[in-house]
Symmetry: C2
């Protein structure tokens, strides 16, 4: 029974799972790491591979933040949460001696890929709301990378010219307003006592603390504006919201759909559906499995053709 | 010698030409119309078809403003310049008895298609600056229509929240700042004596009249912002600017490229090239010819396959 290992690298943990597209996830778990270094990463990876030996694993699909060169899967983009995690080839992610094929993709692309398999043939745009804002586009069942692998960087589209500073050096990016880090930075700038509070508490308190409610609502509104502009040029079937902060319902997907429709030309407005990621926080892992599975069977077909 | 007729329907004229992708344009001309009605349109079309009888025309490719349903080529979108020009099928555009195949596409899509054939395999985004702002996307040598045919409506992406009113009912759309109609409306709102001036004079006077220079510069800046946000999600190879107002150099394509690069993440910035449409004001006509030619040979191939 051919199975695949999907790993989703986050800012503070690895999520991983084993399965395939037909049977879904046979196993899912999370490993937190405290030390942020490539060596620590490789140790966690070794633990995961040791655990996985009881299954017939055919390959590894890894989701990472940042820009990933394709083909090849080299991690290029820098990530403020994982500063050491750049200019790394797939082989460096696993312990020496591992001979399984490894495929690396941007984590938001994998989340969108997984969700797109539940909406076959549809034009899907996926968003991950967490410490940053991730975005993926799947068109004709393929991840859209753009001409140079930089596509779908919605987090750095500018919604408020001369707005709040973003980590990227620009002003007014959606990430500066809508990501969890952006929200914290905006609270800090207002000397808010809530800037360092754990996200679940922060969200739970919004109904009682207007200051929190305003900042969270402004984050939602910035995302609405960026998504409406994206819809105007891409005309997708689905906007799919996932990521850690969406698991906590940081933004109201029903309100988002209505507000996005208000910002679109009338004829176009009703064609967009805004939904929560069906795979929840497992979407990235599932995407890694699907990426790996597709490559596995494509390569097999190619070999048969060559014969 | 198989040739194709391309027609580009503008707000005040038909541009048309005869040719194919190998030999280019064998003939090009413009017919202005004064009466704006479907009947007047059909009369001009009759004149063009009569003229074209000396060539071996295999089909007609028509570029129109507005949203065009695909497949089928029905004109759906309304155009403030041609209010009667909506809900029209291709057959209604030509006089009765014409049996040539007719293909209708959005005019900016056709301009981009033509330009993309000069940049084969590249991800091209085309912009037409005229009374409105048109946009087309060509990816893998195919026009990108989005999921419902509404894609590439860059003119209605919002660059300034709560900004100037647009014809579409929204505020702060790029079209409200960067199109010729938008520029006129902004001058009118300032009670400027230049609001009604012919565009070539208006552009020529900008060096002497700061009021004009500011409005034109703000138009360029809005387009720069919209294009930078588009690059962040689409990651194109080329941004190609055409349309009547670009023929008059309303915007400075070199400054645009530099400013767009300033608004992009550093790694991404140098990958974008901003160019003037090589076919100039003939790009739409050439796009119509290419669309028609592609369909002609595709259909022939299909028939051969069926036999």
């Amino acid at each position: 029974m051919n199975l695949f290992l999907g790993i989703d690298i986050g800012g503070s943990s690895f999520k991983y799972g084993i399965g395939d597209s037909k049977r879904g996830l046979q196993h899912f778990a999370i490993k937190r790491f405290t030390e942020k270094s490539l060596e620590a990463f490789q140790l966690v990876m070794r633990e995961i591979l040791d655990e996985s030996q009881q299954w017939d694993i055919q390959g590894i699909g890894i989701g990472s933040p940042g820009t990933i060169s394709q083909p090849g899967g080299k991690i290029l983009g820098t990530n403020p949460n994982l500063p050491f995690f750049s200019d790394i080839s797939p082989a460096e992610l696993v312990p020496q001696g591992v001979t399984l094929p490894i495929y690396v993709e941007n984590d938001a692309n994998l989340m969108t890929l997984a969700e797109s398999t539940l909406r076959p043939g549809k034009l899907c745009i996926g968003l991950t709301v967490g410490s940053g804002i991730g975005c993926g586009i799947v068109y004709h069942d393929q991840i859209f990378h753009g001409a140079h692998g930089y596509a779908a960087e919605l987090g750095h589209s500018i919604v408020y010219p001369a707005g709040d500073a973003c980590n990227c050096g620009q002003q007014g990016c959606v990430e500066a307003y809508s990501s969890v880090d952006g929200i914290r930075r905006r609270l800090q700038r207002k000397n808010s006592p809530y800037a360092g509070m754990a996200l679940p508490n922060l969200i739970a308190l919004r109904n009682r603390i207007p200051e929190l409610d305003i900042i969270l609502r402004e984050g939602e509104d910035a995302l609405i504006r960026a998504l409406a502009n994206l819809c105007v040029v891409m005309d997708p079937d689905y906007l799919i919201l996932g990521g850690g902060a969406m698991d906590l319902y940081i933004y109201d997907v029903n309100r988002m759909q209505i507000q996005i429709q208000h910002l679109l030309p009338e004829a176009h407005a009703n064609s967009i559906k805004c939904e929560i990621a069906s795979y929840g926080n497992r979407a990235g892992v599932m995407g890694g499995i699907i990426l790996c599975e597709r490559n596995h069977y494509r390569n097999e077909t190619c070999i048969q053709k060559d014969n």
